[in-house]
Amino acid sequence: MATRQTAAAARTLVAPSVILLFLWMIVPLAMTIYFSLLNYNLLEPDAVRFIGIQNYLDFLSDPDFIGALINTLILVAAVLAITVIGGIFVALLMDQQIYGRNVVRVLVIAPFFVMPTVSALIWKNMLMNPVQGLFAWIARSLGLPAIDWFTNYPMLAVIIIVAWQWLPFASLILLTALQSLDEEQKEAATLDGAKAVSYFFYIVVPHIARAITVVVLIETIFLLNVFAEIRVTTNGGPSTTNIPFRIFELAVNANDVGASAAGGIVAVVLANIVAVFLVRMIGKNLEG
């Protein structure tokens, strides 16, 4: 349908976005790769020199990096497990013919719109404070010892906060997928006298499998980047420092440009492993 004239116009219209995104991708990345090969500390500007892959060797053999990598993986895996399983449960509930469904939906989705610094500080102080927090009061009322979350289980505390933020996202996406399961299929299942359990595993799960994959991939991309929640609660420490936070520490606290850049490239590689799968899935959908 496109004439030669429109095709030319089309290219002109796409160009600004493409050029900007290209620069955004290539300039910082090229700089980061370049820095990562240098011994470069902002405090010693005269000592800058080329050191090859030494930063990578240092970064990868640094126990702090291994710790940060493990923390990153724990955080991503735990939040994914909680939000996907919880999300399926919440989505199934919201898909019932319940009274006031729209209000329920509004309540469930709300945490997703709360900025990360707010969620983190409200949870850390008013809910998880070991003395005056609400959880401590509930525990004591039940005759249990109050938990000092951020002293004894800092990673668990961060996981709970981040999972609370992402549970609405998983629920909403899975609910959307559930709702496209057409009524006829549901009717047929009823007529066949399908038991709830087998209905769930043979009809519901296969139907929402694709949506689950999308939730897992998109959340992973965001969860690999969790930063603000850690910055305002624990501000690092051995049990909650993840890779983004470690890179931040190296850059801002240690002024070590080279080491931070090497860490950045490691983060880019990790994100790309996930991105390849996600982009392929979305690409398949684009055919239609």
Binding site: T6, F35, G100, A110, I122, A196, F227, R231, G264
Partner: protein, 276 residues
């Protein structure tokens, strides 16, 4: 599993669903209640749920203690500015990809999406360095540009999926009638595209408003938005829960309301059309 349900089943399910929803919503409700307490009531054990001395003092205090208005203006300028700039770039791009696709359009879309996958921390050092040298640290232009560019792929994608739904016949009719490209965009396409553009804008404002990696790391005073204002409560002095709650309510209320209106677009925007 919305199988046929008896009334009693329906009531049971409703009760469970409401309990779960209230549990999920509770931290926000608790924050809202606490924002109307005195600090003494905020820290009271046992906690006071509704029967406390209601006061709006905290809201007045937020302004004098952490300068809410300046941070709020920065948040508005950043999220709206980044959006308008993003839309100006994305509308022509999405238009041409939706209505004059070439062999490469699909690859181009996938490539744009892939730029969104780049972790902020990965290129943090480079951006920090560039901004340090370019005197862009703590400037609205600097952070605004970043917010624009990181949301650009989502904006292009969302617009593309909306534009795709506009019937091509109408455009062809307009072309037959000799409408120029410019007129076609202004008089035919835009009116039909306004709902999609509005939804895109809402989602993108939400994402920019809540963005907390670049805003925390690249701003300090002059360009600091609400995410930073709240972060300043991470090392407080004295009792501060009621004040923190009031500041938090003020920081999230606008976006919570916008968010509730745009929840359906959220699915489309954040899954790049992969879940419908």
């Amino acid at each position: 599993m919305a199988l046929k349900q008896s009334t009693s089943q329906r009531v049971t399910m409703s009760v469970i669903a409401w309990l779960v929803a209230l549990l999920i919503f509770f931290p926000i409700l608790w924050m809202f209640l606490t924002s109307f307490k005195t600090e003494a009531d905020a820290y009271a054990i046992p906690p006071k749920f509704l029967f406390f001395h209601w006061t709006t003092d905290n809201y007045a205090e937020v302004q004098s203690r952490v300068d809410y208005v300046r941070h709020a203006i920065n948040s508005i300028v950043l999220s709206v500015g980044a959006n308008v700039a993003g839309l100006l770039l994305a509308i022509p791009a999405a238009w041409s990809m939706a209505f004059a696709p070439t062999k490469r359009t699909k690859d181009l879309l996938m490539w744009m999406l892939s730029t969104k996958m780049m972790p902020g921390a990965g290129v943090f050092m480079a951006i920090y360095f560039l901004y340090l040298r370019g005197h862009l640290l703590d400037s609205l232009w600097g952070v605004g540009f970043l917010l624009m560019i990181i949301n650009l792929p989502i904006i292009v994608w969302m617009l593309y999926t909306y534009f795709k739904e506009i019937p091509v016949d109408i455009l062809e009719a307009a072309r037959m009638d000799g409408a120029s490209l410019r007129n076609e965009i202004i008089y035919v396409l835009t009116p039909m595209a306004v709902p999609g553009i509005a939804s895109t804008m809402l989602l993108s404002v939400i994402l920019s408003w809540n963005e907390a990696f670049w805003t925390l790391n690249l701003t300090n005073v002059n360009a600091a938005p609400l995410t930073n204002m709240i972060a300043s409560f991470s090392s407080p002095e004295g009792d501060f829960w009621a004040l923190l709650s009031a500041a938090s309510v003020l920081a999230i209320a606008p976006i919570l309301i916008i968010g509730w209106f745009s929840q359906r677009q959220l699915v489309r925007g954040l899954t790049f059309g992969a879940v419908k």
